[in-house]
Amino acid sequence: MNNLIYIFLQALTILMLAPLVNGLIRKMKAFIQKRQGASIFQMYYDLYKLVRKGSVVSEVSSWIFKATPYIFFASALVAAMLVPVSTIILPKHIPGDFIVLVSVLGLGRFFMMLAALDTASTFGGMGSSREAMVSTLIEPTILVSLFTIGLISQSTSLSQIMLTVQGAGFPLAHPVYIMVFLALLIVIIAESARIPIDDPSTHLELTMIHEAMILEYSGRHLALMEYGAAIKQLVFMTLLVNVLVPHDQIIAFTGFLALFLSLLIYFFKILILTGIIALIEINTVKFRLFSIPNMAAFAFILSFLGILQYFILGGSNV
């Protein structure tokens, strides 16, 4: 029973935090651009407003169009359950490892791409086709970089990986972890549709990827899609900060206070990562669609060099 409670707690934390992270990124961008910017809670308001509205559904579409928001949202939430936010509330059995994580996110993406094709709109097809390209190219990077860390801790289970890395001192000084960190940073940018891969704030057909896919959605369906995407983004960010910059080893005591402190540090790490992402977004321009393979190849090389360094530096003594 404790298992279930812990798992739901994980999901709840990410669920509550996800829109805030989006708001924070926007606020930081605004701050750097010397704008006032919207409130950091803006996305909560937006979601609340959207949920209360009715939906417009295309006459052409089938049941897939209506089922997709729920499946996408649920798959993002289940993904959130697989990535521990804090090792203090670590369930005994997590129902899956990182391969399952990739597959669960794949479920959501599969349906999102189908729903985009379902309305017979050109935009949908375009978004779906481009998403197919981006996600395909980024997939080997995710697997190889997670495999690298998995090899170091001899496990594919994310909770196990986090526990092992916590014993490694300050991992980010090590080349293997640096490579994986950079590779996963590119993955986050690609997976959460950010500049320079995609621009989340535009509706220009030349550049849209994610937005093109959810263009037909409105009302509560749209709210679910947006919320799901935000959760997915936070899942990847959590993966990055908790695996590569572990924090629970510095908390020496247990109990509720420890949990509170742990979550606080977690939130602080996410805040810093948000800052990094905002900086990247500010300092780059969106790539041409066919420059994305260059970026993906670079990300893959990063992860591959990471694992090569693991072998070069002698495997187990990392």
Partner: protein, 679 residues
């Protein structure tokens, strides 16, 4: 049990035979013929499947089911079922059962137009020959069955022989498959020359090291061709689309797996693995097949060709498992090897389920629209909703999406790769990591490919009159697809059921049990599957997804009030004349990836206007083409060389005069006698 099991197998084989004979006898009464043949097949499959399961669970060692010694030298008709045979037979029987239900409806559109009796005869004998391939114990007998299997499947490929493309596909198929059998035959002869025996259960102790290597290569080419290993895959994308869909389901689901069976039986069990490079070679070829197979699949607009290429990819996944297994066995890491073999066998079984289902789905599309061309489909999910749902299930399964069975095979393959990366074997480790990357890339491409397959064919607006007029498929077809979809889900949720069988199989061929490592406790409704602390609970994931969906619905109802929906047209930028031609087409969908991997496809495009200038209002024709590296650089030059050689020699050697031919015979005989005299 000892007495009962052989009888079950014999009864099953006998029922197929009876089915074959009856379909010839009743060739005038096509309806009854169709029903009876398929019912016989179904009954035989049920018996066979039960017998196979019982054999694996409760009987150890080979089980003789038929024995007859002929006066022909070397040939003895001994049929035995051991655990590997039983496992492949199980996959065969399950698939045949579903396909036979399907055929009752599917073949009905042949009634009155084609020779249904002949078809059913070929169909049953084709299945029968596959059973014989799996059970024969004598190399010559095996070879005969193998050839018979190829020939019967050839007849089935060219069954709709009036289309010239089918004839060409058949010719290509028969040439490739015969080349392959030639390699296998040579391997058998080398074995015989050392061991003086054609017994498959015998020992290979008398074979020297070098000839074992050669035999391995011969088997790899021979069986690799049947499996559709790149670059020997050329026949596959031609033959599968040409055959009727129920036959392609069998061909792709189980016939290409006879090659995996062959590799296991002859290389693993008979030769014994001593050299690590065997595994490395298989692993490398598997990686290439995984990536290129799905990359070519993605570019296809023909649904059945797409599925055929995807078979190449899945064979690649199986071979990755097999390669890792061979490497580990060569290094005497029995547990790790058994583990990789588990992954390979499990994926073999799973693939036969979902790929069979996908071909049946493609057949249903063809049945209701008379086209295989994706550019003419669309919107079918409203016209054949049940079929659409099942095809969606299969698409999810093949994309390795949890909770379907495709994921379990892929997860085990990843875990096998993970476990086999050991410090101190640099080259192999890097190859294994590359295999991970190849599987990852292929995983992404498969999702793209099957989103295209399902999205373009079933969603959106119909792209042609045929798709608009699509008719509902017969009930039996949907039942059989539903059965397969349920099986896909079942083995995805409860993988330990099939893994128990796989474990017994591996135990019987010198591996060690991995079930101890794959700890699973029976907890409520699901089995967790766990390897060294890496656990997955597919049923729990499905449960959580469902719970989340329900919670979301409840919360939305609480916060958002009642759901209000308005039906309206798709947003058209105010243009108000959205037609089906404005959707993304199949070609358009895969275009970005085509550009990214242009080194593989070498696409070219041509723009031509019928009028004077491109800017006039005349219709403009835009054609894109892409070409396959292997057909251009490997097969065409080879075919050209053979052709020109034959042309040159046609008049010198094939003179047409009887005297010349007699001289040839004389010279050959004399030379052979000389050879025997001196060597």
């Amino acid at each position: 049990m000892e007495l009962f099991l052989p009888v079950l197998f014999q009864a099953s084989v006998l029922l197929y035979l009876v089915g074959a004979i009856i379909s010839v006898l009743l060739r005038k009464r096509e309806k009854i013929n169709n029903l009876s043949a398929n019912l016989f097949c179904m009954a035989a499959s049920v018996l066979g499947a039960a017998a196979s399961i019982a054999k694996i669970l409760w009987h150890e060692g080979p089980l003789g089911i038929f024995e007859a010694h002929s006066t022909i030298p070397f040939l003895s008709l001994v049929m035995k079922v051991d655990n590997i045979s039983a496992f492949f037979l199980l996959a065969l029987f399950i698939l045949v059962f579903c396909v036979s239900i399907y055929s009752i409806g599917y073949i009905s559109h042949y009634i009155g137009r084609r020779n249904v009796g002949l078809f059913n005869f070929l169909y049953t004998t084709f299945i029968l020959t596959m059973i014989l391939v799996f059970t024969s114990t004598n190399a010559i007998f095996f070879y005969i069955c193998w050839e018979a299997m190829s020939v019967f499947s050839y007849f089935l490929v060219v069954f709709e022989s009036e289309k010239s493309e089918n004839q060409r596909a058949g010719t290509l198929y028969i040439i490739m498959t015969h080349l392959a059998s030639a390699f296998i035959l040579v391997a058998f002869l080398i074995i015989y020359s050392y061991t003086q025996s054609f017994d498959l259960y015998g020992s290979s102790g008398a074979l020297p090291e070098m000839s074992k290597n050669i035999i391995f290569l011969l088997f790899l080419i021979g069986f690799g061709t049947k499996a559709g290993l790149i670059p020997l895959h050329v026949w596959l994308p031609h033959a599968h689309p040409a055959a009727p869909s129920n036959v392609s389901a069998l061909m792709s689901g189980i016939m290409i797996k006879t090659a995996i069976y062959g590799m296991l039986r002859f290389v693993h069990c008979y030769l014994g693995i001593e050299q690590a490079w065997w595994g490395l070679l298989i692993l490398t070829l598997g990686m290439i097949s995984v990536f290129l197979g799905v990359a070519y699949a993605l570019m296809e607009g023909n649904i059945k060709r797409l599925l055929a290429f995807s078979s190449v990819e899945n064979i690649g996944i199986i071979l990755i498992g097999l390669g890792v297994c061979f490497i580990a066995f060569a290094h005497e890491q029995v547990l790790l090897g058994s583990f990789a073999l588990t992954a390979a066998l499990l994926h073999t079984f799973n693939h036969s389920l979902f790929k069979g289902g996908l071909f049946l789905g493609a057949g249903a599309i063809q049945y209701s629209t008379q086209t295989k061309d994706m550019e003419k489909l669309g919107g079918l999910s409203k016209r054949i909703p049940v079929t659409a749902f099942f095809v969606l299930c299969f698409s999810l399964a093949i994309s390795a999406i949890i909770p379907f069975n495709g994921f379990i095979g892929e997860w085990l393959t990843f875990q096998a790769l993970f476990a086999n990366i050991l410090p101190g074997q640099t080259g192999i480790d890097i190859l294994l990591i590359l295999a991970v990357a190849a599987l990852g890339l292929a995983g992404g491409l498969v999702i793209a490919c099957f989103v295209k397959f399902f999205g373009i064919s079933f969603l959106g607006l119909p792209r042609s009159e045929q798709a608009l007029q699509a008719k509902e498929v017969p009930l039996t077809m949907n039942i059989s697809m539903g059965l397969l979809a349920c099986l896909c889900l079942f083995f995805g949720l409860f993988p330990l059921t099939i893994l128990t069988l796989v474990d017994k199989v591996i135990l019987s061929i010198g591996g060690s049990t991995v079930l101890g490592e794959l700890r699973g406790e029976f907890f409520l409704l699901f089995y967790p599957l766990e390897i060294a602390g890496n656990e997955i609970l597919p049923a729990a994931i499905l449960g959580l997804v469902l719970v989340m969906i329900i919670l979301t619905l409840l919360l939305l109802r609480m916060f958002g009030g009642k759901y209000i929906e308005r039906k309206y047209g798709t947003w058209d930028c105010g243009y108000e004349a959205l037609t089906s031609r404005m959707q993304y087409s199949a070609t358009g969908f895969s275009k970005p990836l085509q550009i990214v991997f242009k080194i593989l496809f070498r696409p070219s495009r041509k723009l031509s206007a019928e009028g004077e200038a491109l800017c006039s209002s005349e219709p403009i024709k835009y054609t894109t083409t892409f070409s396959s590296i292997f057909e251009d650089f490997l097969y065409s030059p080879a075919a050209k060389a053979v052709k020109s050689f034959s042309k040159k020699t046609a008049f010198r050697i094939q003179t047409g005069s009887i005297h010349n031919y007699l001289i040839y015979i004389l010279v050959t005989v004399l030379l052979l006698i000389l050879y025997n005299r001196f060597f």
